[in-house]
């Protein structure tokens, strides 16, 4: 696979790892947050921690849209799916997330709701066209990467005059989440939580460009390196962050130049701006309510807005009291610090947001890395 295999080369990895070890040998420690679930996945699946010196510690950030989807929104989706005549379509990742009472969309399906996995918004549209007497609802979730395809579908539905298609919109915004973390007391008051740099989003940045992260460097004085999702990309970004830290710089750098430009995909950005409004605030599981962090359909697309078309509970549902996700997401704690980790809370029975999807910090550690807790 061109542009994939090259970035997984073990020999190069050893070389970069050696460079990191060399350059990180400064007597200090480096706490680096990979914002994205994609990075978390790469770090865990390729065993990157084994290539890093002990002084470099990776913090698994909140960049997994499935994880941060509040339980109450899952409940809402299930309530929609259970309404007679509805076909609820969504991406596979969402199906297993348990809502209240451990009921997931998959369980609702087993109980008779018509819930279908799609790989693309185009599939959902096709299902709507093929089932004119059914109400097809697309449960839209994801960051800026996944939002433009939803926008395309809404415009296509309008163009086709589809009356049985709507979108339950749960798209969220990356910079707002980063700001939320930066504004948390633990990060702001440097003593409590050292955060020495951020591995910035890969595919989100393909769409929005590198510019939107400027505030992290400018306002919060933290280095950011936008990195691809291949393991060599991550390793190189780590090295770049260590160099910035060593040099006392705080800039937005771009490791993923093969796909990310400063301005991103402006066609996609325009389409998103034409389709969605920013919500005044939106709840992120594990992080709480964040201002200007979520999208909803514009008034012009009200006919396609499932939130306006369907009654749903709309209740907020708290996570398990013992869940430490909030602290884990900010790097204050590690998954293994949570008393529930691996016993009460596992990927089969997630108690908190970080265990919900394979890209969540707790789940990735459980699935790929928990052996390290025992050696």
């Amino acid at each position: 696979m061109k542009y994939v295999d090259e970035f997984r080369d073990a020999a190069l990895a050893r070389g970069i790892a050696a460079a990191i070890a060399r350059e990180a040998a400064t007597g200090r420690t480096y706490h680096l947050m990979e914002f994205c679930g994609g990075h978390t996945h790469a770090v865990s699946r390729y065993g990157i921690p084994d290539l890093l010196p002990d002084t470099v510690r990776m913090i698994h950030g909140p960049g997994c849209p499935v994880c941060v989807l509040p339980v109450g929104r899952i409940d809402d989706a299930i309530a929609i799916a259970r309404q007679p005549g509805v076909i609820l379509c969504t991406y596979g990742d969402v199906l297993r997330v348990p809502g209240s009472g451990r009921v997931s969309l998959l369980k609702a399906k087993a109980e008779g709701a018509d819930v279908r996995m799609v790989l693309s918004t185009m599939d959902a549209l096709r299902i709507a066209e093929d089932n004119p007497d059914r109400d097809v609802v697309f449960l839209a979730i994801g960051f800026e990467t996944t939002t433009p395809p939803t926008a395309v579908a809404v415009h296509a539905a309008k163009a086709k005059g589809l009356r049985n298609f709507s979108v339950f919109c749960n798209h969220v915004l990356t910079p707002a989440a980063i700001r939320g973390i930066m504004d948390s007391p633990e990060v702001r008051e440097m003593g409590t939580l050292p955060l020495d740099g951020i591995v910035g989003p890969a595919h989100v940045s393909v769409v929005i460009g590198s510019r939107p992260y400027g505030f992290v460097a400018e306002t919060y004085r933290k280095p950011v390196v936008i990195a691809g999702f291949e393991p060599l990309d991550v390793l190189q970004a780590i090295l770049m962050l260590i160099r910035q830290a060593n040099e006392g710089r705080a800039a937005v750098e771009n490791q993923f130049t093969r796909a990310v430009t400063p301005d991103g995909n402006q066609k996609a950005q325009r389409l998103v701006a034409d389709t969605f409004d920013v919500r005044p605030s939106f709840e992120w599981r594990g992080l709480g309510s964040l201002p200007d962090s979520g999208l909803r359909l514009k008034e012009a697309f009200a006919a396609f807005d499932a939130e306006r078309r369907f009654a749903m509970p709309g209740r907020a549902v708290p996570d398990h009291k013992g869940c430490e996700c909030g602290d884990i997401l900010r790097g204050v704690k590690k998954p293994s610090d949570c008393r529930l980790f691996g016993t009460v809370c596992t990927p089969e029975n997630p108690m908190g947001s970080c265990m919900v999807s394979a890209e969540g910090g707790c789940a990735a550690h459980y699935t790929y890395g928990r052996f390290r807790d025992h050696r």
Binding site: A10, Y46, A110, T343
Partner: protein, 348 residues
């Protein structure tokens, strides 16, 4: 009990419902089998926990095994439900080191299923049996109303004889043992997925569906004391190795670079965000043997067409946590865990 470690919470037998994960070959299914079927049926043979029960009949050592086949679509690149129903059960017999002798076949047909399709898959089944040298000696046919089935389901049972001195079993993996596979991983599952309407992609990958007893005969000829044989079907290599690790009370350490994988399978998995170690195989086996036997076993495997790409992929290690770990191609280490939930629907 080790179950408490494997299963976080007990199956809710009062209010729970079957879901797809109960049939996916992963942990949920292991739990269903353990807490429901095994608890209810408990007897020494079932308790061995193998895919087949080895028992001493009036005379001679024989094995019997059964598998239902509900694959969708019924016809796929490299096979169909008919050939699969033969290969799958022949292989479960073969995984006891046995020579398969007889098959039985139970059909559950959906009202309205075209006879032409039925003939096609029955012919394919017959051919697979002929090629495998087994006879389908008895069978049964049921028809269910339209909407109460899915075209055709087939349940086959296989019976075989085990050569003297051969006794592979899932609990016989010992620290130090070598772990081998007979060829590339994930071909079957990818071939199935490529045909599914909502996933459809184009690839030349064909199912590896094949009867492995010929390969096994060569293997037990070379190394009668092979410790474990198992075919990594539903749940793939990862889940099957975890089953064995759990049964034997050992850990494993794999080398990702040693695991045979077709480039196209890797690409398809990349595309779908799947891990090929969890993708089903229907013509591959895992073998575990003493380290000193590994070369001989590998040579025996490679000398058979179905084992031409065989490889030693790792070793059994002592580990009270029974972790299956893997040194990644990239140089780090990770766990290769049980499949959790379902990877994708109905592949066998």
């Amino acid at each position: 009990m080790t179950d408490r470690r494997l299963f976080t919470r007990k199956l809710d037998l009062a209010r729970g419902a079957v879901d797809m994960s109960h049939g996916s070959g992963g942990k949920a299914m292991a739990q269903l089998v353990r807490e429901l079927f095994a608890a209810a049926f408990a007897n020494p043979l079932l308790d061995q926990g193998n895919d087949q029960a080895a028992f001493d009949p009036p005379a001679g050592r024989m094995v019997v095994t059964t598998d239902g086949f509900v694959v969708s679509p019924l016809f796929f690149p490299g096979g169909d439900i008919g050939s699969l129903a033969v290969h799958g059960t022949v292989n479960d017999v073969a995984m006891a080191g046995a020579v398969p002798l007889y098959l039985t076949a139970g059909f559950i047909l959906e009202e309205g299923f075209p006879l032409a399709d039925l003939k096609r898959l029955v012919d394919s089944m017959a051919q697979a049996a002929r090629e495998a040298g087994v006879s389908i000696v008895t069978g049964d046919t049921k028809v269910v109303e339209r909407g109460k089935g899915d075209g055709v389901f087939i349940t086959t049972t296989g019976i075989g004889v085990v050569p003297p001195g051969v006794a592979p079993s899932g609990e016989r993996a010992r620290p130090g043992d070598a772990i081998l596979v007979s060829g590339t991983m994930g071909d079957h599952g990818v071939a199935i997925m490529s045909t599914r309407e909502n996933l459809s992609f184009e690839t030349d990958i064909r199912s590896d569906s094949a009867a492995l007893h010929g390969l096994v005969a060569g293997m037990v000829g070379a190394v009668p004391d092979v410790h474990v044989l198992r075919d990594p079907t539903r749940g793939g290599l990862a889940t099957t190795l975890n089953e064995i690790a759990h049964q034997s009370g050992v850990g494993m350490l794999l080398r990702e670079a040693a695991i045979p994988l077709k480039a196209e399978v890797a690409a398809a998995c990349e595309l779908l965000g799947l891990d090929p170690l969890y993708v089903a195989n229907e013509g591959k086996l895992i073998a575990i043997c003493a380290a000193e036997d590994a070369d001989r076993l590998l040579a025996a495997m490679r000398s058979h067409p179905l084992g031409a790409e065989a490889a030693v992929i790792g070793a059994v290690v002592e580990d009270s946590h029974r972790f299956v770990q893997m040194e990644t191609r990239f140089g780090g280490k990770r766990i290769v865990d049980w499949l959790s939930g379902e990877q994708l629907p109905r592949i066998c």
